[in-house]
Each structure stands twice: as C-alpha cells, then as structure tokens.
Subunit: 139 residues, 2 copies
DNA sequence: ATGCAAATGCAAATCGTTTGCAACTGATGG
DNA sequence: CCATCAGTTGCAAACGATTTGCATTTGCAT
C-alpha cells in the first residue's frame, strides 16, 4: 500500500510550464502515472519501448529532469544503483530498501523529523533536505 | 573536533590480511591516518602525488577497496558527488553536509537509532545498515 | 496549412570507478 | 644475500549511469 491518493496530472504540470506535450512525453507520463513502484530510468525506458519502440533513453532522462525541475517527481539515489523515481505529490516519507529484492517500502516518522531538526539547530544549521534510508532484510 | 581517539593502524590491518605493504600503499595509509576530513579518491590521490608522483589513481581506488573490505574504512556516497572516506574505527555516527562548503559534520542520536529499529521491526524487517544525511546551511 | 522554436534520436562525451595486462617489486626460502 | 614468483603497480581501455551536440523531426500558434 504505497500508492498515492490520486495520480498526479503530469501533463498539466508540463503544459503549465509551457513545454510541449509530445508523443514520447505522453507515453512516459502515462507510465509514471500507472507505476506503483520506484523505477529507474532504464525500467521506464523498457516499459516505454513496449508502447513505442522509437523512444530513446535520452528522452526518458530528459523528461525525468524536466519533471524533477518542475517539482513533479523526486529522484532517489539509493545505495549503489541508478536513480529511481517517484511522484512528488505524496507527503514526505523515507525509505526502507529490501536488500534481497530491491523493493522499497515507504515510512514516515514525525518524531525522527523533529529530532533531526533539533540536531541541526544545535549545530547551527538549517536543514534544506535530508536522506534517511534503512537497508534491511525481512525477518 | 571530529577526530578519532587514536588513528587506526591501517598497516597492521593490511599486514594481518596477508597483503604486501608497498610503497604506494604506505603513502596512501599515511594520508588516511593524518586526514581529519572526509576526502574522496581524487583528493587522496592529489595528496599522494605530492609525496610520490608515480602513484596512480587506480591504486588509490584499489587501496580504498582493500581497506573497505577489511572493515578499516567506510565509504560514504553523499548526494551527487563521488564517494568520500573515513576511518571505521570511530563509533557509528551520521552526517550533516554543509551545502555551501561541502564540509561534513558528524553527529549521533541514540534516540533516532532506536526509532529506526522500531520502524523496521514494525515493518517486519531487520536493519543491516542505514544512511542518515542532513543537508543544510549555516544559520 | 505553414513556420519555427522546441523536442527528438542517435552517437559521442562525461564522470566516477573498475579492470586487463604487461612490467615491476615485496617478502620468503634457500 | 639474492633468486623467485605471486602480489601489485601504472597505464589505458572498459565501465555504467547520465548528459550533450547536432542534424532532423514535430508540436502548435498562427
């Protein structure tokens, strides 16, 4: 159950930003809207090729960057692997990565967030963002 | 004041592991023992070249891997940049990265660690390791 | 429809890191 | 003390993820 309340309307995000809704973009946006995992660029590319085999990996990367810059998706660079993406519309959460399967489980702890703020403050810093990842295996 | 109680004796670590103490390794180990920051491979390489300009970057990487595999150093892949290293002899801590300077400040919160364990447990997982990084700027 | 800037696909470039290989060198046995 | 030889080196090339230059295509406002 790691799904969003409502899938984000990426197309309006882009249209509002004044960028063109092209065929490759439509396809990539569709894939993003339907995904319920945390795919990397290559995974998105593979899914896209099934719908239109003329799509290039560069376009996937370019589209991800576009969406990231518009704040529509978030990029996560987990341990070792390539960047993986997820919509940014859901509320903030951190990640537990299953070391055996690569699965990503989302969680949130207000308490931890508070403690982080306290720590940063006590060091004279203001947190711009943070990264909390738990790597573990099923018991 | 992010220094260790005592600099680790990398040379014995390697000798005990049955690997040769070569000239390039001696130099790299010396740099590691004296460092008090979190240098990346290139930074270590630059410092090494000042002591012996025949040292290669590959050897730096190979030596870091050697030490990492022996548990003598830890590798940190902070946001975006290359891996940065630090001795593994100190107790566990997390990092606050200064977004303006790249400086790394170490901190530890037993409370956060406990909360992490609780969360993992409640999800049916056992934490193998974690990554907690705060990215911020000085106030 | 038409024009033109925006977007594409492709190949080549980039960055951090690893690796194959031939030359070199520690450390051990004699 | 030195020969031996596997362990190490430097170099250049290979790597995987991502970005970029460029000539060609394509949205889409007119």
């Amino acid at each position: 159950m790691s799904s969003q309340a409502r899938p984000p309307d990426y197309e309006s995000v882009l249209r509002d930003a004044g960028v063109r809704i092209t065929r490759p973009r439509k396809i990539i946006l569709k894939i993003l809207a339907e995904r319920d995992d945390h795919p990397d660029a290559m995974a998105i590319f593979r899914r896209a090729v099934r719908l239109d085999d003329s799509i290039s990996l560069s376009t996937v990367y370019r589209t991800m960057k576009l969406l990231e810059d518009r704040g529509a998706i978030q990029r996560h660079a987990f341990q070792g692997g390539p960047s993986r993406f997820e919509p940014a519309d859901s509320e903030h959460h951190d990640h537990l990565i299953d070391l055996d399967t690569g699965d990503v489980i989302e969680f949130h702890s207000e308490k931890i967030e508070q403690l982080q703020d306290e720590i940063a403050k006590s060091l004279g810093y203001e947190i711009v963002h943070h990264r909390l990842e738990l790597y573990g295996r099923k018991k």
